[in-house]
Every structure is written in structure tokens, then in C-alpha cells.
């Protein structure tokens, strides 16, 4: 097998439509805006956690209903959700929303880039500049 990465344009379309892909994100936005609108600054930790669980179940339901999500994918979604949302909530409570937002951006960027690099290695697409090194 060769290990060359192609620079051509993509010839394949995603199987899900844009509307289906956006449903989960829209649900998250709506739930959080609803929490903010209904409870305002009075939102308790338990209410927030309940909202997160509700949003997670909604997104997982959409993934199962419209996509082909496996148990492994749903587990990954739950873990990511727990780590990011839980960590952000803790940071926002402890150090304020600015620090929480900065930390979230950093963790999300590192996570995305890490998965990207892992994929390159897994597919053998990493080019070695000089094999003697």
C-alpha cells in the first residue's frame, strides 16, 4: 500500500443532509438558551446538569435516528460531553466564564488536532522528510 496523501478535490458527498447534521447542534443551543431564559442567573447546578443530560439524550437520539451511530460512537459522545461540559462548568464556577471559555477552546483545539494527527499516522499518510534522521 502506498502512503501518499491526495490533494485532489473531493468526489463524495456526506450521506446526511445539512438539516439532519444541524439538528443536534440546534438542540444544544435551544436547550441552553431555554435554561438561560427560564432560570436566568438563578439556575442551580442540578438544573444545569439536568439540562445537559436532556441535551445529550436528544443529540444521541438524533444520532441514532438519522445516522448510523454505534455504541462506541455514542460512548465517545458521552465521554466528550462529560469531560468538556463538566470541565467547563467546573472552571466557570471556580474561575469565571472567561477562563472557562479559554480552557474550552484550548482543549477542543488540541482534541481536534490530536485526532487529525492520529488519523494521519493510522493511515500511513505521515511523510518522513529524511529517513536517516
Amino acid at each position: 500500500m502506498q502512503t501518499t496523501r491526495a490533494d485532489e478535490g473531493h468526489d463524495v458527498d456526506p450521506s446526511a443532509s445539512a438539516a439532519v447534521a444541524w439538528i443536534g447542534v440546534a438542540a444544544v443551543v435551544v436547550v441552553h438558551l431555554a435554561v438561560l431564559g427560564l432560570l436566568g442567573d438563578e439556575a442551580s447546578l442540578s438544573a444545569l446538569l439536568a439540562a445537559q443530560v436532556f441535551a445529550l439524550l436528544a443529540v444521541a437520539g438524533f444520532e441514532v435516528g438519522f445516522g448510523s451511530a454505534s455504541f462506541r460512537t455514542l460512548s465517545a459522545l458521552a465521554v466528550c460531553w462529560a469531560v468538556l461540559a463538566g470541565g467547563t462548568l467546573f472552571a466557570a464556577t471556580a474561575a469565571g466564564p472567561t477562563v472557562a471559555a479559554g480552557g474550552l477552546a484550548t482543549v477542543a483545539a488540541v482534541g481536534c488536532y490530536g485526532l487529525h494527527r492520529y488519523e494521519l499516522v493510522a493511515l500511513g499518510l505521515v511523510e518522513v522528510a529524511d529517513e536517516r534522521e
Binding site: 502506498q2 502512503t3 501518499t4 496523501r5 491526495a6 485532489e8 473531493h10 468526489d11 463524495v12 458527498d13 456526506p14 450521506s15 446526511a16 445539512a18 439532519v20 447534521a21 444541524w22 443536534g24 447542534v25 444544544v28 443551543v29 436547550v31 441552553h32 438558551l33 438561560l36 442567573d41 439556575a43 445537559q52 445529550l56 445516522g67 451511530a69 454505534s70 462506541r72 460512537t73 465517545a76 459522545l77 466528550c80 460531553w81 469531560v83 468538556l84 461540559a85 467547563t88 462548568l89 466557570a92 466564564p97 472567561t98 472557562a100 471559555a101 474550552l104 477552546a105 482543549v107 477542543a108 482534541g111 481536534c112 485526532l115 487529525h116 492520529y118 488519523e119 493510522a122 493511515l123
Partner: protein, 472 residues
Amino acid sequence: MDPTPRFWSTAGTGALLAVLGVVFARPVLVVGAASVGAIVLARQYAFLRAVQRLDDGLSVDVATDAQFVRRDERTELTLSVSVPSGAPLGLAVTAELPAVAGPVDRAERTVRLDPGAESGTATVSVEWPVVGRATVPEPTVSVADASGLFTESYRRGGETEIRVEPRQPRNVHVGEGGDAVGAPFGGHRTDQYGQGTDPAELREYAPGDSVSNIDWKATARLAYPHVREYEVETDRRTVMVVDHRARLATGPEGERPLDYLRELALVVADAAATADDPLGYYAVGDDGLTAELRPSTTTDHYREVQTLLHGLAPTEGRTPGGSARGVADTRRAADLLADDDTDFGGTLVPYFGASERYVQRIAGDSLFETVRTRVGRLDGTHWVLLFTDDSDRTRLRETVRAAQARGHHVVVFLAPSVLFETGGLADLDAAYDRFVEFESFRRELDRIDRVSAYEVGPGERLNAVLSGDRRR
């Protein structure tokens, strides 16, 4: 893994929530941004898993129906894609083409598999207009995740090599009765001794010999005066008469009688240039003489002969009534039409332009008349090399006699028609009988005083005709 515009929209939504949360000091919105980030990361992970599963079971193969093709020929390129366990996500595999290949629509050379599909193939016809070695790169596999946030492209499969060969004769046979002749033309011994540079022989001194010719070392060794003689050097004045009438255009380009005769003529021209022999060149088309270069030995002259030979193409058959119009009249009409922008003028210009290719129009058999009127009038003895075929034997016989009668040596290079006709070798026994007739004619020419005749053609076809027990 490349992010799509949909990815940036989703990430932008999360970023907007985070910014609003910071600006309005609402931690709930920042938590909402974290939820969006979790969705993106989970989908990226799911895509990564699907690509890995796909790559483990993916098999891509590109096959061609020919590794060797001639320029401008086509080959079929077949792309086969298989995922025995079923594709975990939609993919497209595209057969890539090298820059030297002819254009093929990308959609035609792409195999698309929907999720769950197991295999697919695509076959395209590719033209190869450039001579050389071409490498068909590995096909490109393109995948996109189900939600459209990420795409990926990478190469899989192997490279395929195709050699594109020029359209020119291969295995040119020059010989007599099927037996190849190594050098029918080129070296020219005089068998005369005198002034020169190549030593010929030693002989005893005889009264009348110049003292300066005495070889003193041989004299000392043999105890009697000996003189060394040298072979006389001579220039062989050569005239090539190349027939490029329409009848020499039988068969595909590169395999026509004219192509074989041209290859040989180029060899002769090169040999003449190497030996500094005076070389003349006459090209004969259907309607007359298309090129006339009187014998000369300048470097530019040899180069011009070779250039003309390289550009030699068959003429388009005899033009009815063509001899009625003189070259001067034709040129005058072409000059007048050159300034005519009307549709009438535009229609006529190509006909007058084509007519200008002829140096002189000739009524009757143009080859015979050229030899009679041009070659026959050359001063001194020349080696006249005729490059033609055997389709009009009676006229050719007269042509050879016309050249020979003037005291010239004549070498006839004949392309046997039987070796070039389409389907001519379908019946090998009939082809053999026709070749025997040709051979009889060639020998008849060869028996004429100061005339040599050789056959020129594709060696493999001649071998096929003479193969097995047909050769007697």
C-alpha cells in the same frame, strides 16, 4: 482529515455561544459551547473509526489492457474497488491520469460506493498522444463523514506503467529474397590503387614508380625496394529519388511503405553526409516533382535533405486536369486570393495553397518523367537510388531502364505491396505466392546491368510470409 465549511459553521456556533457567555457573564452559554464542542469531537472520532475500518478492508486495483501502445492509440483503463465487508461510509475512488494522457472526464473514471456497498468498477478509454514512459499514479480515495464535517483523500493501490512508442517503422528489413543485407549502400570501394590514405598492399619496386612511394622499412626488411600502394579515394555521387505518391500510404501511420522507405532514405542520407558524398534529392508526388535538390556536399544541404525526408508525407492522388495549370498561374491565383476576405476567396485559398507544394507538375507517370528529365540529364556517372513500391511494375521497369541507360548505377529499393495491404496476410499461402511474383520481378530488375534491387519492409511480416514450409 480536512474540515468542511459545515465544520466551521458548527465550530463558529460554539464559539459564538462562548463569546456571548464571556461578554454577558453567563456560564450557561459557555457550557453550551462545550456541548457543541463535544458533538464535533464525537463526530470526528466516529469518522476516524469509519475511515480506519474502510482502509482495513479496501482493495483498489488499476489494470490496463496493454502495457505498450503507439502514439495516439487508446488503451482501456479499468479501476476496480472492493470492500468485502461493506463500505462503512460513502466513498469515491478516482483513477488518476498522468499529464501526458489524453483528457478523460473525472466522473467517468470515478467509482462511487454508497455505505454498505461492496464493489464497483469503471472502465475508461485513454488516448496517449505523447511518446515516452507514462506512469499512471495510484487512484485517489475520497471519503466524507456522514454529517459532512470532515473529508479525507488519500492514495491507495499501485502505480501502472505504460510505454508509448512513436509511430515509426520497427524492424526494417532490407534484403534480397528475404535474406537481409547488412549494408546495401554506404561503403564504396574503388578497387583501384593510387593516391589515398588507406594502405592497400606492398609490391616490389618497378621502373617508373616514384621514389617517394618507396616504403623504406619494408625495403630494409625484404632486402629489395618495395613501394606501398594506397586505395584511391573517390566520391560517390548519389541521387535519391523518393516516391511519395498516394499509393505508398497504405496502412496505418508509421507502418506505411513510405515510412519504411523514408527510414532507409534517412540512413542513406546520413551515410552520404558522413562520407562527404555529393547527394541529390528528388521527391515525386502524384502530380509531379515536390522537391528538387541538385547534388551538393555542404552541411546545410545534407541537413535540408534530412529535413525534407522527415517531413515527407504522401500526396493526395492525382488531381484531374492538374497539369493544365502551371505553377506560375497557381502562385498568381494564390497571391490574389490571399487578400480576398470573402467567403468565395476563403473557400478557394486552401486548394491553391496545396498546389504550391509542387516544384513542377508533370503529365504522365511522374516518377518516370522525373528520372527521364531530371536524373537522366545529370552530368557524369551517378548512383541513382530509387525508393518506391512495385504496384506499377511496367512503369517501374521503364523508369529503371531510363536511369540505367544514361550510364548511371541504379539501386532500387522496393516496398512489396503484399506486405502492406490491409488483410494481405490473412491467407499466408496466397501472400507467399504474391511475394514470389514480387521476388521474380525484383530479380528481373537485379539482372539488368548496373542495377541492384532490394526489398524493403517490415521484417516480422516478411518472416510470417516466408515462415514454415512455404519457404522453398
